[in-house]
Amino acid sequence: MTKHILLTRPLHDIPTSYLHCISGELKKEIESVGEHKVIDLQKEDAVRKKFEKALDKINPRLVVLHGHGSYDSVIGQNEVILDKNNVCKLKSKIVYAVVCDAALDLGESAIKNGNAEAFIGYDSEFVIIVDPQKSAIPMKDKNFRPFKDVHKMLVLSLVSGCTVSTSLDRTKTHMRKLIREYGVRGIKDKYGDAPLIRFGLFWNLLCLKKHGNGDAVF
């Protein structure tokens, strides 16, 4: 049976341009396997009405949210698409929110009030280290690569059938490996950004949290 993955991908400023880039690559990789169907709510489609409609009608098992947000809401294309008033639509879903602070109140509410099966998110800002020369072109930004790899690893682990806990463990292990690679061994670091990349990876490692059932499987 085909399973569905819902992606929200707003695009309206520099942070969302980076997330839009990551999620676009992710979409291509998932679709290239051909096993699962991606519902792509990008740009002007990343609005509350379309988000709720997709949740209700298609009932995706995995929901991956990209964009701005806060401890109690997720923002799509310049409007709130998820908050306490529609968290009930996450029932029985695995949610990964690449959104600042969403693992705080919203993550807990998704489980307790919305009956989501699992919620993965960050309890502070999600950060990326950018190349000062290439920050307008995420595709060409080499500093962005480790952050992109980490995000893709988590989603692809979930999609490949690993449990939520295993996916998180694998991803965190990969983050530690990257921190090591950008430190002790040294890498090509023309502009001296590697120490800040290590710090950024550690920031995300520290803030990546889950709520709900760690044994949940896509």
Binding site: L19, E125, I128, I129, V184, Y191, P195
Partner: protein, 70 residues
């Protein structure tokens, strides 16, 4: 979590060793900030500055304890 003035001085000293033009993009902000601006945030004890100190201290503790396998 509160931190001491010594910890704040330590973190500023660490940040001073980085490339001042390197940029971090926090998803809650509209544009990236430089290491130079991070140092200013720490110096004036802003919310972001306090967060930077807290996470940098956790980072140092993880390094010291082997928590990130270095």
């Amino acid at each position: 979590m509160p931190y001491s003035n010594e910890e704040k001085i330590l973190i500023i000293a660490r940040l001073e060793t980085l490339n001042k033009d390197s940029k971090i993009l926090l998803m809650g902000e509209k544009k990236p900030i430089t290491v130079r601006e991070m140092i200013e945030e720490v110096k004036r004890d802003s919310e972001l500055g306090r967060k930077i100190v807290r996470i940098q201290m956790s980072y140092l503790k993880a390094l010291a304890s082997g928590g990130i396998d270095l």
